[in-house]
Symmetry: D3
């Protein structure tokens, strides 16, 4: 069998079209021939995600997109924000596989290095990364976390300053952490991975492209989200008001 | 100083008025004289919470209520669903302390027993309880988890069957788990704790009343959610569409 | 029901009357109206507790006080030394709830911040705090531990030097640890919490007052130490010699 | 870019040609068009791997094959034995990515279920699986381990008895473990995954095919084993005697 | 150098002369030629140790004996109760090495098996064993804990019934736990280890004899309790009343 | 019984005769009278072990020596390389006890200090030490790891430079880590332990001598590797080619 003629829904949980484009371009570069990347972001929500509150807002947008994607019979869903907002809720809702970019990047990192470092945006988001490391089981595989101390959207302001700070943090991490790889901690950094990998001479990993390939892999393996047990479809119940459109 | 003349907002994350009433009554029984319990539930959302998807929906309702509560200058917020949905997001949004009923019950359990058991509703919710135990650090303090295998709302159907099953599971847990206490794993069980404590002769703990007292305690200690670091107020950004009412 | 007309026994495990007074005053400030604080310390023992040996001595004094408190039908016991010496032994002996000030402060800290720092006295006591974090499940919630490198009784020498060093360590911890709250690691620091909370603008938590409120809370919840299983009363056996007064 | 025209070296660490064939066939079924599967096994070594001793023998064969594969400029190496024997040593030696089938299966399992069960051959190999779960960070994601209590080569004896026992254990695991997915704990079970997935209605995961797709993914992502730090090429030193052929 | 002409103080923390004799005899059987076993127990204290309260009492007796032993210049101290009561306090007080029988047995068990089971006396003591496994780092090495549900002194009542129950539990543990070794969870079982080892055909480990050999080993290695840092001698302070005899 | 007239096989997993001699001399110094140290190293293999690849080579030599030792009826086997290469495989093969020098040193360290530091050779070997700490359960007992950044054989080059760097790292570790003891992370440092212990005034622990005494202890305790379960003798199977000499 082959990995071709798939449709993967790339969900940017925030409403920034710029970031959606950056991530879509990166995803298309790495996708197999015949894999279509359906890049979407919620019409309503937060322009960027920099904390638990933003994640809660974004999760609703993610779920609406997953529902739409399921109705469009996409072959997989990517949650393209480093906090993997709504991951397990999305897995309940989806028929196809769902992969978050944080888990995708972390899984790949453990395949190429014994320990990795994370470079993300604002310090306040570090707690989210730490919780994910803990939940996914990769705490011991992460040597250190770093923040460039610039907001997510600075990656999209055209100045290149955020990109420069990411680069500096990656160089510092390589020198000081004893890590063999670096995980980029924001979807907005997706387009930096390959050049930084070349410049630094160690794997610098972007979760968006990693997730594309993991979805393709699951599809090729004929594996999808288990509908047995706690990831089964949500129990049917009348969702009221602004949530009515999420009714199954 | 005293614990009197507080207003605690008791947020039932689901839309069931019946459960809201049960929890409000329990909360008022245990509250200090002068503490007002402002019991609310979202107008829109899910009638019950039995998985990650339901939690994601409920979280938005929780945040709306926290915002309303903050504007009404309540002295604390309780998230009255055993999954503590939206806990950290709510802490970002709140000025006053926020306590979830799962953490409240678990904290109290560790003060009266070396290990506790949890009795909850549907098996599919066990994963949520396990994640909370892991995140809060109480994995080793929990000897076993049990599910009565009835939906949340069966606690509210007047038949008493669910209550009977809770009772049976608690008795079984006492006999088999080597636990010194039992944590009730659903807000809808709030009214059962004291009679089961008497009948079983071990602490059977309800998180709603525990949370009321923890909020009062934090207030008396002049402690509130830290606004330094990752629980600081959400960064101001324009939330669009159905989320506009959550703008700060 | 109400929290009034309780008698809480505040046990200072060391023999320092000065520290007993400081802690009693702090406890009374935070206690509910009608709660009496019965502050005691052993007549015999160690003037301060700065290691495992001192703790072992202090534990016997704690148990004698718990026994006396039980005979006086107090409504709860506080072990007011940051190592929580004799906590589980005291719970076996007690009918009423027993709370240690280290656990009390740590529990409260996790309700207001995602991570906390600890500031204590001598470096040699850090191992005790680390063991407690490990045993209580809060290892991941503690970002760092700091010692002022002055003995416990320097807090009681009237010079204010120790208090100044605590203040400096708290400021350093806020700047460097990425913690949202600070736990004061010695009962003798009890009176510093509220002013430091105001000065630093983050929760600085004292376990003595936290424990007072937790005991009141357990009482209001009609929860007490489980007498089923491993916290049941000690098996009756003839304790000889200097321990005879501990016979049940 | 595309995933085509890759050469992946599938290394069966034992000397069983039958098992090599079974795994090669499975690998080819799942490989992308244009991916060549170069299936090899050591000429010398152990006919099956059922303990740490067998693994130690097999590791040398793995390394010889990795060296040969590197000289043949293969694009990736798969260690096709559930203990992932020699994984980190192989990563030191390799230029291309190296993936073990145990890690591959476990990673994929965590993407489709909250917990998985493992079904393997002899009870004495369970310790190896437990160590891998611990090392990879998936301990909490594994609900239970099961052994069919038949040797590895019974999967290759044509009787189908071992296959039947695997099937029975998988059914039992689904019923009893509360797992949403099952990981097959032996390369010799590779050909069973897809039919069992269909029959049981939950993901039953084979590490061989999972590893093929992970190698393809790493290649598409232009990620390879980090040569910075502890996975750098072995330090050149004269290997003597029977090991001379492993000299770099 | 040699292991001869040592004096090891074997401290039975309870006041039972019978148990002291049993343990002394076992210790002498295993001691090197020239090693003298100075078996002592406190004159005052508890006749047996079956909980945290008993341990607290026993700890004081242990410390008095350690002080006496230090003044008598013994070459090492053994704390011969499975809870290792007062271990770290004793290490502060001692110049020579101090070894507890629980840690001794657990360390040895990890050298001969990948996992071990524990067989102890009363169920209420299981919590103590679990805490030690956690503190020493051997949680994962322990497959299961079992209690014969008879008090400690039943081992000393001459009926042999407790010994028979220990034997039955060991046989059950071998059959059911998948453990390669068994740790006897009470000093009163010391004399059973060698015959059970022969009968069961797996290592059945007694901590008393293990501790004797570990002390001899530390002495031969010229290693003793570190007096640098948190195990340094207790800070000199006036211990009052019944504790005055513990003044340094 | 006595510890005399034992034959312990000291296996240096690398082919360096110089290191074998250094370790043999250290072992003989600490051995009991009547204990013979049979020091061996593989005729074929790697001259030093500085990574996973080297360990894999060395493991085969270890197993050949264990087989030879078993045929010569030695009373125990020591794997004298800090990575404990092939430890569990050797335990399967051996009748007598097998102890690795890393585990030996770490076990002893936990008996004399609450935390220890490790000083080893090349940074690339730190991952091996970290994995052992994790596997043995001593992660929390290790405060820090240090590398002198010189290859193993520099310890054998007669210049003393490596020894000087070890000394400097130990002094730094004592000053900065808050550790009470230091574990020497290479068999080639065996002869430094006792002088550094004297100079630094804290236990500096060599695993070679520790292992000698642990083997003697297991023998005195009549404990040997469990042959029940996963450490049972390897299943008989025809090992082919260069491995034929390992056939049972």
């Amino acid at each position: 069998m082959t990995g071709s003629s798939l449709c993967i829904q790339l969900i940017n949980p925030n409403t920034s079209l710029g970031m959606t484009e950056v991530m879509a371009a990166t995803a298309r570069k790495v996708a197999s021939p015949g894999t279509e990347i359906l890049a979407v972001c919620p019409e309503e929500g937060a322009p960027s995600i920099e904390g638990h509150f933003d994640e809660a807002i974004a999760t609703l947008g993610v779920l609406q997109q997953v529902k739409a994607g399921r109705e469009a019979s996409v072959d997989g869903h990517i949650i393209a924000c480093f906090g993997d907002p709504g991951l397990l809720a999305a897995r309940e809702l989806a028929r196809a596989p769902v992969v978050g970019i944080a888990e995708a990047a972390m899984h790949m990192a453990t395949l190429v290095a014994t320990r990795f470092s994370i470079v993300t945006t604002l310090p306040r988001t570090l707690v989210i990364a730490r919780h994910l490391l803990h939940q996914y089981g990769f705490e011991r595989h992460c040597a250190a976390l770093h923040a460039i101390d610039l907001p997510v959207l600075s990656l999209d302001d055209g100045s290149g300053m955020a990109q420069q700070k990411v680069r500096e943090q990656c160089i510092k991490a390589k020198q000081n952490d004893g890590s063999g790889a670096i995980v980029l901690g924001c979807g907005g950094m997706a387009d930096l991975a390959q050049e930084l990998t070349l410049e630094l001479g160690i794997p610098v990993i972007d979760g968006v492209s990693a997730a594309v390939r993991l979805i393709e892999s699951l599809h090729a393996l004929r594996l999808t989200t288990s509908k047995f047990g706690d990831l089964d479809y949500p129990l049917p119940k009348p969702l009221s008001g602004r949530f009515a459109d999420l009714n199954n």
